[in-house]
Symmetry: C2
Subunit: 356 residues, 2 copies
C-alpha cells in the first residue's frame, strides 16, 4: 500500500510501504476512505518537535471500511463503515470506563507504537491496522454513508470532538456565556460544540474573514478581532465588566492560555485542548485569587462519539464545514503546505481519489 | 477597645485601639464573641510576607452580636447573633450573585481596607466595624446560641467552608474517591466536607496522631503516612493503580500541589485552597496528558454558609472539632505560638474571657 511519511521539516511524501497484516486476534485492517491533516501534525511538519531519525508514518484521523478482523473481534466485522479515534484504546480498562480513553492502559498512537510495542500505521495512508478493533472503532449504522457526510463523520475522529471536549471541560451548559480563543479548526469546532450545549452567547476571537464566516455559521454571536490586553478588556466589557462563564483555549501557546485565564469571570472555567507548545506553566496565584479553574487536555473522543454520531447522521450538525480544501491523498504534500501557509483551515484527503 | 496587632515576625500583641464607629449607612458594629487564628495568619506571623511598616490589625474569623447598625441596614439588627465571612462583600454585585463573593466588586479584607479605602478592623479584637452588614453577615436564627455551638459556628467564618470549597472545587459527589493532602484545620475540614458530600472513600495524608484521630472522626476511611513519590505510589495502589477521582490540596506549597496533581486519576480533579506560598506554577503539559483539572482558590464562604448553617445548628456536623486549644483573646500571643510550634491544630479565642 501507499502511506504518508514525514522525512523531515517540510518534507512529507506519499510512498510505498508494507501492507498491514493482522498481528493479534483483537486487530482489524481498515481501508481508509477519508483522512485529513491536523494542526498538531504541523508541529512535526514544521520541525517544532524532534526530527525523526528515519521517515515516520503520520496522520491520526481516518474513517473507512473494515477489510478483515482477527479471531477475537466481535463488535466489528468486515464491510462495516467505521470511525477511528485519533488513538487506539480498549474501552474496557478503568480509565476508558471512567470516560478517559486517551489514558487507556493499553493505549497506542497512530504512527507510533501500540500497547505491545508493535509499529502502528499512520492515518494518512490507504490501510491501517487497528490494534483494539472492538475498543477503538465505532460502526456507522446503515452501511457506507453518502459522500456528502464523509467530512462531518471524519471530524468525529478528532477535531469536532476535541472542540467538544474543550466545551465540556469548560463546563459549558444551557445559558453559558463563552469565549473561544483560537480560530483554527478546533476553535471553530468549539464554537459549534458550545452552541450545541446551549450556550447563550459565543464570542469567537478571530481576525480571518473566512474563519469568522464559519464561526458565525456554527453559532458564534460575536466576533472579536482584538488580542492581548485589548482583547481581555474587550471581553470583560462585553460581559458586564467581569467576563464570560467559560473560555475555550484552542491554541496551546503561552499567549493564548494567558488570554483565556485573564478573560474568564471570577469562578469561571477554562477548557483547554490546545497541545501545550513548549509547556507554558499556569500561574496558580492568579487562579487562586480569581477561582478560575482549568481543565482539559487530550480529548477522549472515543467516549464522545456515540453521543454525537446520530446528530451528524441526521444532519442536525455539520462539523465537516471546517474542511475548506479537498485533495487526493497522493497530494498530501500540498495539503500540508496549504495549512502551513494558512491558505486552508483544514485539508481533507481522499485516498480513493489517488488510486490509479 | 482592645485588638490584636502584628508588630513584626513572632510579635503579636493585644492592645488598646480606637473604638470602631459607623462610617457609612451600610455599616454595622459587631461585638466579637469568638475569634481564632488561621494558618494563613501564620505566614504573616512568621514574616513570610512583607513585614508591616507599622503595627497591623490581624485576624479574619469571627462571630458575635450586632451592637449597632447604620441607617441603610435592613437584614441585620442590633442584638442579632451573626457569622462574618473572612472578608467583606455586598452580595448584590454580579460576582457575589455568581457564587464568588470573594471577588465582590466592593470587597474588603479584615485588617486591610474596605471598598471606600477606610481601614478595616481585624477579627482578633473586641469589636469590628462591618462595611456591608447586609451583605456579609449571616444571622443565626434563635438568638445567641449555646456556648457548645460556638466553635462549630465559628468555622463557618472560614475554615470549614474553605475545606468545603476544596471538596466542591474537586467535584466531590456521591460515591467519589478522595485523597486529602494536608492535615491542618483546612485539610481536616476537607475530610468532613467530602464525607458530607457523599464520598465513598476518603484518604487523609497525615503523620500526626492527634490529627489522624480528628480525620477519622470526620469520616476518613484511610490514613496514609507516606509522602512524595512513595505517597503517590501508595495512593495509586489504593485505587486500582490509577488513583482517586478527587484530590483536595489544602497546604499551598509546590510539593503539596505536585503530590495532588500526580495522585489524581486521569480525568480526575484537584480542588485547591492552600494559599499558594511563593507561587508554584502548574505543569500544564502534565495536566494536558492526564486530563486532571485544577480548580479552587480563595473560598467564597459567604455563598456557602446558608446551606451549611442548619447542619451545624442541628448538630449533624461538628466542624468545631478542629479547635484543640481555647484561650482568652488577651492571650493571643500564646495562641499564635502554639500553632506556630504545631502544639495546636487551631486556636480558639474568646474575647469575653479576656474582659476584666
Amino acid at each position: 500500500m501507499r502511506a504518508t511519511l514525514l522525512h523531515g521539516p517540510g518534507d512529507v511524501r506519499f510512498e510505498q510501504v508494507p501492507d498491514p497484516v493482522i498481528r493479534e486476534p483483537r486487530n482489524a485492517i481498515v481501508r481508509v476512505v477519508a483522512s485529513c491533516v491536523c494542526g498538531s501534525d504541523l508541529w512535526h511538519y514544521r520541525g517544532a518537535t524532534t526530527a525523526p531519525s528515519q521517515p515516520q508514518r503520520i496522520g491520526h484521523e481516518f474513517i473507512g471500511v473494515v477489510e478483515e478482523v482477527g479471531a477475537d473481534v466481535s463488535r466489528v466485522k468486515a464491510g462495516d463503515f467505521v470511525i477511528a479515534p485519533f488513538y487506539d484504546c480498549d474501552m474496557t480498562c478503568p480509565n476508558c470506563r471512567n470516560g478517559f480513553s486517551t489514558s487507556c492502559l493499553e493505549s497506542g498512537w497512530w504512527g507510533g507504537s501500540d500497547h505491545a510495542g508493535d509499529a502502528m500505521d499512520g492515518g494518512q495512508g490507504e490501510y491501517v491496522r487497528v490494534p483494539h478493533a472492538d475498543g477503538s472503532l465505532t460502526v456507522v449504522p446503515g452501511g457506507t454513508p453518502d459522500d456528502a457526510l464523509l467530512p462531518s463523520l471524519l471530524t468525529l475522529s478528532d477535531v469536532f470532538l476535541t472542540g467538544h471536549h474543550a466545551a465540556v471541560s469548560a463546563g459549558v451548559s444551557k445559558g453559558s456565556t463563552v469565549v473561544v480563543v483560537g480560530d483554527g479548526a478546533v476553535g471553530l469546532s468549539g464554537v459549534l460544540a458550545a452552541k450545541r450545549l446551549g450556550a447563550e452567547r459565543i464570542v469567537a476571537m478571530s481576525r480571518h474573514e473566512p474563519r469568522q464566516a464559519v464561526a458565525q455559521a456554527f453559532g458564534a454571536t460575536d466576533i472579536l478581532t482584538q488580542r492581548g490586553d485589548e482583547g481581555v478588556q474587550a471581553v470583560k466589557d462585553m460581559f458586564g465588566g467581569i467576563g464570560p462563564d467559560a473560555v475555550l483555549e484552542c491554541v496551546g501557546t503561552k499567549e493564548s492560555m494567558d488570554q483565556a485565564l485573564r478573560s474568564a469571570r471570577p469562578g469561571g472555567q477554562v477548557g483547554f485542548v490546545g497541545v501545550p507548545n513548549g509547556g507554558p506553566e499556569l500561574p496558580v496565584r492568579t487562579m487562586f485569587r480569581s477561582n478560575v479553574g482549568v481543565r482539559g487536555g487530550v480529548a477522549p473522543v472515543r467516549n464522545y462519539v456515540d453521543e454525537l454520531l446520530p446528530e451528524v447522521l441526521s444532519g442536525a450538525i455539520e462539523p465537516g464545514r471546517v474542511f475548506d480544501l479537498t485533495l487526493p491523498l497522493s497530494d498530501v504534500a500540498a495539503a500540508y503546505a496549504a495549512m502551513d501557509e494558512r491558505r486552508a483551515i483544514k485539508s481533507l484527503l481522499l485516498p480513493g481519489a489517488a488510486r490509479p
